[in-house]
């Protein structure tokens, strides 16, 4: 087994991978930028190396810097996590060339799946259903508009190199198409350095359902069932669950077989995810394959008992998959909520600042994959995801009930988070009924703002008692000696918290 693994990431996923390594006696190397000096992944790793400048290009995306550290620290392998360099074929290739194992599939597979057009063509050839659309090479705005009109509205403009919703636009009418194509191209160019876009039919009441794959380097491939990730804002998932509410044994078999087939035709190795869209009539279409560990992998772990991060390490080390398809089973229901530093009342804009207090809920089958702690400064440099809260229950209702409890006991003070919003979503009657589509947030929470009912009496009492406890004694005495019925006499004299004029 590897002796030392470098984790080329930060935040909760770096923490998750470091723990997976340490549990099987692999030493870990963390890398961090200047603003991440005190980040949790740095605190728990066995060795740490500074990357300097916090801008992503200069730090977690800087291939030469990271490779240099890996060599210096004598890493046997590099785990890229998700995001950053996880799906960068050049990075995987560089690792291969210098004899450091990249924990993921081969560079050419990453390359193929990273090119969404080529990926679809490959899948179509292999008999995996794909969504009708334009994936051609005529990339001038005029031609694209013409192709778009052929497909009809609504349609989707997507960045060929995209992921995580970046560069994606929904267009409902012809007059908005040009603006959408241009915007998508710009965003794609600046995010991925490639402005190729494609167009595709936008499905009715679509659900996002994906299948987890594990494939070893000896030709064994299994799937670990589905995850439904339909609840999205800005085309990014915020709530994921397994099993999917609409899944039947028959459909699961069909989709699972298609997912395994997809992995097979490209010679996939390690953990991966095949994403499908499923329409209201249960037709499913291949969307893309993510060649890495997914953010939402814990819901699969919670219901199958399989440690995916551990298997990534074992597979990369050349071990054979001892898991057989027939031995993998799912028990109960798991839900994940992504906790973001963002303001759902204000277009989900990221919020930054010091976390004055962090207290995660705990209890049976409640998991908090966290990258934060009290006192940590949330900076604007990286994705604003703070942590992931995952619960599992005996069935969906049970899991929902547990999630509501867990969210209402998750205290994050200091920056605005989406926790109250997540709770409203999970409590929503349509969510409870399982009527989850990718339009859910837009349909039910379009102009959602936190109900401004003012301060509840419990908050007022808490504050008043707290301030009373923390006010200097002599001030209280002075207060008692004066007329308690005329508080205005004390204007300007009482210092809250006893901080000033002590």
């Amino acid at each position: 087994m590897f002796k030392k693994v470098l984790i080329a990431n930060r935040g909760e996923i770096a923490v998750r991978i470091i723990k997976a390594c340490q549990m099987i006696d692999i030493k870990t190397i963390a890398i961090y930028s200047d603003v991440d000096k005190k980040a949790p992944h740095v605190q728990i790793a066995d060795e740490t190396y500074n990357l300097g400048d916090p801008t992503p290009v200069q730090s977690y995306l800087n291939i030469p810097k990271i490779i240099k550290i890996a060599k210096e620290a004598e890493a046997d392998a590099i785990h890229p996590g998700y995001g950053f360099l996880a799906e960068n074929p050049d990075f995987a290739k560089t690792c291969l060339d210098i004899g450091i194992k990249f924990i993921g599939p081969k560079p050419e597979v990453i390359s193929l799946m990273g090119d969404k057009i080529a990926a679809k063509k490959t899948m179509e050839k292999a008999g995996v259903p794909v969504i009708p659309g334009y994936h051609g090479s005529k990339q001038d705005t005029k031609s694209l508009v013409k192709e778009g009109e052929k497909i009809g509205f609504p349609l989707l403009v997507k960045a060929a190199a995209g992921g995580g919703g970046k560069g994606m636009r929904i267009v409902h009418s012809k007059d908005k198409l040009e603006e959408a194509i241009e915007g998508s191209k710009r965003e794609s160019k600046s995010s991925f350095g490639d402005d190729t876009v494609f167009l595709e039919k936008y499905l009715d009441k679509p659900r996002h359902i994906e299948f987890q794959i594990l494939a070893d380097e000896h030709g064994n491939i299994v799937h670990l069932f589905e995850r439904e990730c339909s609840i999205q804002r800005r085309h990014q998932k915020i709530i994921e669950e397994t099993p999917s509410h609409i899944m039947t044994e028959k459909l699961r078999k069909k989709m699972g077989d298609a997912a395994v087939k997809a992995a097979e035709v490209v010679g996939y190795t390690n953990a991966g995810t095949v994403e499908f869209m499923v329409d209201k009539d249960q037709n499913f279409y291949f969307m893309e394959m993510n060649t890495r560990l997914q953010v939402e992998h814990p819901v699969t772990e919670m219901t199958t008992g399989v440690d995916l991060a551990k298997w990534q390490l074992k597979i990369a080390d050349g071990e054979k998959l001892i898991l057989k398809q027939k031995d993998i089973s799912q028990r109960g229901h798991a839900i994940e909520c992504r906790i973001y530093a963002e303001d759902p009342s204000n277009g989900f804009l990221p919020s930054i600042g010091v976390l004055e207090k962090v207290q995660a809920p705990n209890g049976p089958n409640i998991r908090d994959d966290s990258g934060i702690y009290t006192g940590l400064n949330v900076t604007p440099y990286y994705d604003p995801m703070l942590s992931k809260l995952i619960v599992s229950g005996e069935n969906r209702d049970d899991a929902i009930q547990k999630m509501i409890w867990a969210l209402s006991h998750y205290a994050v003070l200091g920056v605005t988070t989406n926790i109250p919003f997540l709770r409203k979503v999970v409590e929503h009657p349509e969510f409870k009924k399982g009527n989850t589509t990718t339009h859910f947030i837009n349909n039910f929470f379009k102009d959602w703002t936190i109900a401004k009912k003012g301060l509840p009496i419990d908050a007022i009492i808490s504050l008043a008692v707290y301030d009373s406890m923390h006010t200097k004694k002599q001030e209280i005495v002075r207060y008692k000696e004066s007329d308690p019925h005329n508080p205005w006499r004390h204007m300007g004299r009482w210092r809250i918290g006893g901080k000033e004029g002590e």
Partner: protein, 163 residues
């Protein structure tokens, strides 16, 4: 002791008094007699009649945060001048940037006649695009940023004279 809390532009006048083992909190003409303890720093357990409030309070630079029943409230204890601090509310037709980022495209120029919802500029932050649209029909008086400029949250992107 008399305290004013400001929350979402409202001011709450509260008095609290400690007598023996109880706190007496008066707010909005009601008095609440409570027993309270701070279990650990900022963790409050307050007994009010047969009900228990559990809350967490932390202090930031100026503001305080209260966590109660799964919600977070941010309050500002304010000086007892008796005058409500007036905060400038966002006016209709706000053209300030909602986020710090980079200007990636400027669609309008000085002198342009533009319609409501026309795109003025596009700002990119955290790999997302934020579109600044005109809040009304009008004429562009001034564009304050050009492509590739860095823009900070709250900075005014452009001036549009309402028609």
């Amino acid at each position: 002791m008399f305290i004013n809390y400001e929350h979402e532009n409202n001011v709450y006048n509260v008095t609290v008094e400690r007598r023996k083992n109880n706190y007496y909190v008066t707010y909005d003409n009601s008095e609440y007699k409570v027993e309270a303890e701070e279990i650990k720093k900022g963790h409050m357990k307050i007994k009010i009649g047969d009900r228990i409030i559990k809350s967490i309070i932390t202090e930031g630079d100026k503001e305080k945060f209260v966590f109660v029943e799964g919600n977070v409230y941010k309050v500002l204890p304010i000086e007892l001048t008796g005058i409500k601090k007036s905060r400038k509310k966002k006016e209709e037709g706000d053209l300030s940037s909602p986020i710090s980022g980079k200007v990636v495209n400027v669609k309008a120029k000085k002198g342009d006649k533009i319609k409501k919802d026309d795109v003025i500029m596009v700002i990119e932050a955290m790999k997302m695009e934020y579109i600044i649209r005109s809040p009304y029909d009008g004429i562009v008086q001034k564009i304050n940023f050009k492509e590739n400029d860095q823009i900070e949250i709250g900075e005014i992107t452009a001036e549009v004279k309402k028609k």
